[in-house]
C-alpha cells in the first residue's frame, strides 16, 4: 500500500517536471528570435562545444589534468614528518627507477636551493609550504602549482629541453617575495646521475 503511494507520488512529480519542461520549451519557442541570431547562437554553441570536447577528451583519455591531489599535511610539523624532514628533501630515485622530488617552500626560498634532474624523464614533484601561501613556476615549462599550507601539491611532468632554469615563487608571500627563487638544472638524460646518497645506500645494501 505504502509502496504504491510512493510510486504514485514519484509518478506525479515526474509528470509535474515534464509539464514544466514542456511549458518552458513552448514558451521558449514563442519568443521571437531573428533567423540570423539563431544561426549565430548555434555557431557559438558549436565553438564552445568544440573547446569543451577537446579539454574533456584530453582530461579523460590523455590524462591532461592540473595538479589536483587532495592530500593534507601539517605544515607546522614538516621537520618532524618523515617525508619532508631535511635529509629527505630533493631528488630521489626509488627502486622502480621513478624519480620523486620533494621540495619545501618557505619565506623566502625553495629548499633545496638547487636541484638537478634528467631531461625527457617523468618527474613527480611534491611541494609543501612551511608557512604561507606560495606558488611555484619554472618559466617555459608547465611545472606550475600553488603551494597551499596544509596540503601537498603533487605534479607530474617532464622537461624536454636541458638547461638551467630558475624556479620562481609566483604568489605574493610577503615583502621579500621578489627574492623567493631557486635553481634547477635539467641535464641530458644520459649525463644525469642519480643522487649519490641513494647510490651509496644501494651499495650498502649490495
Amino acid at each position: 500500500m505504502q509502496i504504491a503511494a510512493i510510486i504514485q507520488k514519484c509518478h506525479d512529480l515526474t509528470g509535474k517536471c515534464v509539464d514544466f519542461l514542456q511549458d518552458f520549451c513552448a514558451q521558449l519557442r514563442s519568443v521571437h528570435v531573428d533567423h540570423l541570431e539563431r544561426k549565430w547562437i548555434n555557431i557559438s554553441l558549436l565553438i564552445i562545444a568544440l573547446l569543451v570536447a577537446i579539454i574533456t577528451i584530453d582530461a579523460f583519455f590523455h590524462g591532461v589534468n592540473p595538479p589536483s591531489k587532495v592530500e593534507t599535511i601539517d605544515s607546522a610539523k614538516l621537520h618532524l614528518s618523515k617525508e619532508f624532514a631535511e635529509n629527505n628533501l630533493g631528488v630521489q630515485q626509488d627502486a622502480n627507477g621513478d624519480i620523486v622530488i620533494r621540495m619545501v617552500a618557505g619565506r623566502y626560498s625553495f629548499f633545496p636551493k638547487h636541484i638537478a634532474v634528467p631531461a625527457e624523464t617523468k618527474l613527480t614533484f611534491r611541494w609543501v609550504s612551511m608557512d604561507v601561501l606560495h606558488g611555484v613556476h619554472i618559466p617555459m615549462t608547465n611545472m606550475s602549482t600553488m603551494i597551499v599550507p596544509g596540503y601537498v601539491a603533487e605534479i607530474t611532468t617532464s622537461f624536454p629541453t636541458p638547461g638551467e632554469y630558475p624556479v620562481l615563487c609566483n604568489e605574493y608571500c610577503g615583502l621579500g617575495h621578489n627574492h623567493m627563487w631557486s635553481n634547477i638544472s635539467v641535464i641530458a638524460k644520459e649525463d644525469w646521475l642519480a643522487p649519490s646518497k641513494l647510490t651509496a645506500n644501494k651499495e650498502i645494501k649490495q
Binding site: W40, N65, N170, Y172, G174
Partner: protein
C-alpha cells in the same frame, strides 16, 4: 518627474567612484615605474606592496561598487519612471560603504594591510581592513535590496508588462551580487576577522581559497554588467538605430547571472585542495558563460550595423564608416569591443584547464584583466559618465572633442600597457613582484617590455586626468541656460509587448542558481569538514 533627489544620490556615488579611480591611476603608474627598476631611488617593496594593495582595492571594489550603485539608482528611477524606493535607506547604504572604504584605506595607506586585494590567508592584515571591506560590501547589499524591491514593486503595479530592459539588467546584477558576495563574506566573517581578533588560532587556507573563488569569478560579471547594459540600452539609440533584439538581451543577462556563479574554480586550477573532477566541471561552466558574451557581441554589432545603414552606409563594411564616430558612447563601444575580442581570446587560454599552467600567476594574468576590466569595462564606465553627467548636473558636457581624445588615449594607452604585459607572462615573469632580482639570463628579455609598459601607463594616467577634468568642468560650468535633454533608452526593432514570465522575472533563475551552486560548491566546501585538515596560524608579511 522631478528627480533632483535621485540625481544627487547618483552623482555622489559616481564622484566617490571616480575619485577612487584617479587616485588608483597615480598608484598604477608609480607601480610600473618601480617595478621596472629604471629608477633605483624608487625601489621599496614596502611602499610598492602597500600601493599595489590600495590600487587593487580602489579599482576593483571602490570604483566598481560605487559606480554600479550610482548607475543602478539612476537607471532604476529613469527606466521605471518612479522615485528611488526609500531614499533614506539608499543614503544609509552610501555612508556605510564610504565608512568601510575609509576604514580599509587607513591601514592600506599606512602599510598595515599590504595583503593585496585578494588578501589570501594565512597572511594577515590589520583587523580594520577586514571590517572596512565588510562594511563596503554591506553597503552594496543595501543597494541590492532597493533594486530588487523596486523591480518587484514595478512588476506588481504593471502586471504582465515587460520590465524595461535597463531595469531587468540592473536587477540581474543585484541578484548576481547577492549570491556572489556570500563566498567572500563567509571567508571574512568566519576566518579572517576571528583570526585577526585572536578568537581562533588557525584557519584552513584551502577552505578560504575555495570561498574566495566562489566570489572571484562572478564579481567580474558584477563589474561588467553595467557595461553590457549600456551596450544594449544606450548604444543603439546613440548610434542612430534600434536594438536588434530585446528578448535575446534578457536571455544573455539571465545566462550571465546564472552561469557566472558556479564556475569559480578556474581560479583554483593550480590548487592542491580541490580534485580534478570539480575543476573540470567548473571549467566547462566557464566556457558556457562565454556564450552570452558571444551573443552580446553579435547583438551589439548588429544594432550598430542597423544604425550605420540607416545613416546611409552601403556595402559589406561601408556601414562602419558611416557610424557616428564622434559620439562618445559609439566610439567607446567600438573600442570596448576591440579590447573584448582580444581579452576574450586571452580568457579562453586562461579557462583552458591545461594551457592555463603556462600562464598561471604570470604577468599574463594582470595583462588580461587590465585589458578586459580597465579596458572594456572602464571605457564603458567613461562613456556612461559622459552620457549621464549632463543629465545629472543639468548642464551640457564641457567638451565632446576632449571626451573623444580621452577615450582614444585610454584605448591606445591600454594597448601599449597590456600587450607587453601579456608577452612578459609568456616569457615567464611572475605577477605580483615589486622588482626583478632573479640572477638569470631570462630576465634580460623582460626589460624592453617593462619600458613599453611605463609609456602605456603614462598615456593612461594623462587620459584619466583628462576624464576627471571634463567631469569637473562640466559640473562647475557657470551656465544659466535651461537644460532640457532627457535620458533616452534604445527601442528594439520588434517592440516587446508580451514576454514569457521566465524572461521577465528571476524567481525561477534564483532556484536554478541555488541548485547549480549546491552541485558545484556543496561537496568541495563540505570536504574540508570531513577530511583531516591542518590549519595555519596567522602570519605577518
Amino acid at each position: 518627474m522631478n528627480d533632483a533627489a535621485e540625481r544627487k544620490l547618483a552623482l555622489s556615488h559616481l564622484w566617490v567612484a571616480f575619485i577612487a579611480f584617479i587616485l588608483a591611476c597615480f598608484m598604477g603608474e608609480y607601480q610600473v615605474l618601480e617595478r621596472s627598476g629604471f629608477i633605483p631611488a624608487l625601489e621599496s617593496s614596502t611602499v610598492y606592496f602597500a600601493s599595489v594593495s590600495t590600487h587593487g582595492v580602489l579599482m576593483a571594489f571602490v570604483l566598481t561598487f560605487f559606480f554600479i550603485m550610482g548607475f543602478g539608482y539612476y537607471t532604476a528611477t529613469t527606466s521605471l519612471k518612479v522615485p528611488v524606493w526609500n531614499n533614506k535607506l539608499a543614503w544609509t547604504g552610501f555612508w556605510i560603504s564610504l565608512l568601510g572604504t575609509v576604514m580599509a584605506a587607513v591601514p592600506l595607506l599606512t602599510g598595515k594591510a599590504s595583503v593585496l586585494y585578494t588578501f589570501y590567508l594565512p597572511i594577515q592584515a590589520h583587523v580594520s581592513f577586514y571590517f572596512g571591506a565588510t562594511l563596503l560590501v554591506v553597503g552594496s547589499w543595501v543597494w541590492c535590496v532597493i533594486m530588487l524591491v523596486m523591480f518587484s514593486q514595478w512588476k506588481k503595479a504593471n502586471p504582465k508588462q515587460p520590465v524595461p530592459l535597463a531595469m531587468f539588467a540592473t536587477a540581474a546584477n543585484a541578484l548576481l551580487w547577492l549570491w556572489t558576495s556570500v563566498g567572500v563574506a563567509a571567508e571574512v566573517l568566519f576566518q579572517a576577522i576571528p583570526l585577526a581578533l585572536g578568537w581562533i588560532d588557525s584557519v584552513d587556507p584551502g577552505l578560504s581559497r575555495t570561498l574566495f573563488a566562489w566570489t572571484l569569478h562572478p564579481i567580474v560579471y558584477f563589474w561588467l554588467i553595467p557595461a553590457y547594459t549600456a551596450f544594449y540600452v544606450f548604444v543603439p539609440k546613440q548610434a542612430g538605430g534600434f536594438l536588434f533584439s530585446d528578448e535575446i538581451a534578457r536571455g544573455a543577462f539571465i545566462v550571465l547571472a546564472v552561469f557566472a556563479l558556479p564556475i569559480g574554480f578556474h581560479h583554483l586550477y593550480m590548487d592542491p585542495e580541490q580534485a580534478k573532477g570539480w575543476k573540470l566541471l567548473h571549467g566547462i561552466g566557464t566556457f558556457v558563460v562565454a556564450v552570452p558574451t558571444l551573443v552580446t557581441g553579435f547583438t551589439v554589432i548588429a544594432s550598430l550595423e542597423i544604425a550605420g545603414r540607416l545613416r546611409g552606409g552601403k556595402g559589406l563594411f561601408g556601414w562602419i564608416g558611416s557610424l557616428p564616430w564622434t559620439n562618445s558612447m559609439v566610439l567607446a563601444v567600438i573600442l570596448a569591443l576591440l579590447m573584448l575580442i582580444l581579452g576574450g581570446f586571452g580568457g579562453i587560454v586562461n579557462a583552458s584547464y591545461a594551457m592555463n599552467a603556462m600562464i598561471h600567476n604570470t604577468a599574463w594574468v594582470p595583462g588580461h584583466f587590465h585589458l578586459i576590466f580597465a579596458g572594456t569595462t572602464v571605457i564603458m564606465y567613461f562613456a556612461i559618465a559622459y552620457y549621464l553627467w549632463p543629465l545629472l548636473v543639468q548642464k551640457p558636457l564641457f567638451s565632446n572633442s576632449m571626451a573623444l581624445i580621452q577615450l582614444w588615449t585610454w584605448f591606445i594607452g591600454m594597448s601599449i600597457l597590456t600587450t607587453p604585459w601579456h608577452v612578459l607572462g609568456l616569457l615567464g615573469q611572475p605577477r605580483r613582484i615589486s622588482s626583478v632580482v632573479y640572477n638569470t639570463l631570462l630576465t634580460l628579455a623582460w626589460k624592453p617590455y617593462e619600458l613599453a609598459m611605463i609609456f602605456g601607463g603614462l598615456i593612461l594616467l594623462g587620459s584619466a586626468c583628462l576624464f576627471i577634468y571634463i567631469l569637473a568642468k562640466t559640473q562647475l560650468n557657470p551656465t544659466t541656460e535651461e537644460f532640457t535633454q532627457q535620458i533616452e533608452y534604445a527601442e528594439p526593432i520588434h517592440p516587446v509587448t508580451a514576454l514569457p514570465e521566465y524572461l521577465n522575472d528571476f524567481k525561477l533563475w534564483n532556484r536554478v542558481i541555488a541548485v547549480l551552486m549546491a552541485i558545484s560548491f556543496g561537496i568541495p566546501i563540505l570536504q574540508f569538514f570531513f577530511m583531516e585538515t591542518f590549519g595555519s596560524p596567522a602570519w605577518g608579511y
